[in-house]
Subunit: 302 residues, 2 copies
């Protein structure tokens, strides 16, 4: 199960009722914070997300509506006497911005602040543990920008215990079987793995793509993702504005979703020029069926 | 008349219901923004303060709870196509923090952003026009910090018209009289100014002092101010914490107010460790009578 909490999903500037980009992805006991617009720390409190569970923050790009809340969050973690390491992934320059402010405030963190500055223009594995991988998704915006792909690893296969016993497989080989290997039984016969196991839990994946103009070459990277968040700042009638500012329309987001054959497309990063959010969904559904609209405070479970 | 709007008056970190330091002082058609904690731009919207009326921002020091909202506000002004100049007063380093973020975002303002970086440790006139003056108030905190004194200039004296006519003063001298000079009448006699004029409207003054430990040598600078905002992070029972962190207690704020013989003392910059704000007022009133408690969204008129 993945749980995604939208802390903010509006473009440009925070307003009384609209927060700029930030979301929390819970996947396999991780609590990944993705982008961190101004006010994110208050949105975390409002949504009752425990600060201490956040150990990794992924920043897409250095426009204010995606990271102006970062230095405040780091500072609040310090005031709350955090001890756990904090890893920050983002474009080159992010370390200088944060450390300059810590230096001038004469306020260094007691916990370890570990920056992973990104510069590559190809998709790259940037985080990995036993169960999860995170890859960058190179995007095309006015400044250097990465989306992020969060993927569970293939889990262990499930053993069909009775079948294994019947085929005289020594229990010492059960672990190998769960890992997908063929084994030799007590009689010296080779037993094909799929004879005695079935596939384990389907690994889940989430792709976050914001901000970006329409960029087809991300399709192979996000192919078959269970969930895709793709920015849709504008509607098709303002495609000229999308092109000029290197953003996407709802229709373009849907075209990417369709080609990548994702499970669900989440829309967000709305311009506040439109009267309702439904217009984004209606436009996108002319291309791709399974659409959900993000809104601040909304929680999705997949 | 002065109008002071408290946008935030809590210490340390923004919370769901508590904002960090920021306030707007309206005095003589100016709209001065004093400090700019994270979320200030949303607080300005909530309190219906027109962004365009803000032309001068005064930052006391470079701790996050006093300026982490500044870069976002500057950025929002740009997105709203501001044209008017914006003057920013604050400690040396503030320009580098803001410009580094503009550079990395490749987002320069179209309006003029004029930094006035402060380094002196003596009170200094930093702004002046026909009607208002602003002075720094050197404070004592963990980093370089200034309070600010906002003062109306002495207005013109009021002419006692009948007395002037009776004393045969030529109307050409009336302007000189209003400016406070003695004049010579038609008969060649010197007429003392106070014989034919009375004092004009009493000029108002507001002193903002945060963050600081108890510092008696600010008393001559803020002497007789109509209103003093003095931080009171702690109560006297936590005087050891105030000393350690270079903050003040409510009692110390009141001692300053008493010595400076100000009109009203406003308390703020509260630690959130106490259950109610009244405890600050009660403690301060053992020393000085005329106390008001700040709270977010509160408006004072003087």
């Amino acid at each position: 199960m993945m749980r995604l909490t939208i802390l903010g999903c509006y473009s440009a500037t925070p307003r009384t009722l609209n927060n700029t980009t930030s979301q929390v992805l819970e996947i396999n006991n991780h609590m990944f914070l993705i982008d961190c617009g101004e006010g994110t720390q208050v949105q975390l409190r409002r949504n009752k997300i425990k600060f201490n569970r956040i150990k990794h923050i992924f920043i897409s790009h250095l426009h204010g509506d995606h990271f102006f809340g970062l230095v405040g969050l780091i500072s609040t973690f310090r005031l709350l006497t955090r001890e756990a390491d904090l890893h920050i992934y983002g474009p080159k320059g992010i370390k200088e911005i944060v450390t300059l402010q810590m230096k001038l405030a004469d306020s260094w963190t007691n916990y370890n602040l570990i920056f992973h500055e990104l510069t590559t223009n190809a998709s790259k594995l940037i985080f990995e543990d036993e169960k999860v991988e995170v890859y960058t998704i190179p995007l095309n915006h006015r400044v250097y920008t990465n989306g992020y792909l969060f993927k569970e690893k293939e889990g262990e296969r499930k053993l069909k215990l009775k079948a294994a016993e019947k085929l005289n497989i020594n229990v010492a080989y059960y672990r190998k079987l769960k890992q997908g290997f063929d084994v030799v039984n007590e009689k010296g016969e080779t037993i094909k793995n799929e004879t005695v196991t079935i596939a384990g839990k389907k690994p889940l994946s989430y792709a976050f793509c914001s901000d970006t103009m329409y960029k087809e070459d991300i399709v192979p990277i996000i192919k078959n993702a269970d969930v895709l968040y793709h920015e849709s700042t504008f509607l098709d009638k303002h495609a000229h504005l999308a092109a000029k500012t290197k953003h996407s329309t709802a229709k373009e987001a849907a075209l990417i979703a369709k080609q990548a054959q994702v499970g669900t497309l989440l829309l967000g990063h709305y311009s506040t020029r439109y009267d309702s959010l439904n217009v984004f969904k209606e436009e996108a559904q002319t291309v791709f069926e399974n659409i959900e609209l993000c809104d601040d405070g909304k929680v999705f479970e997949f």
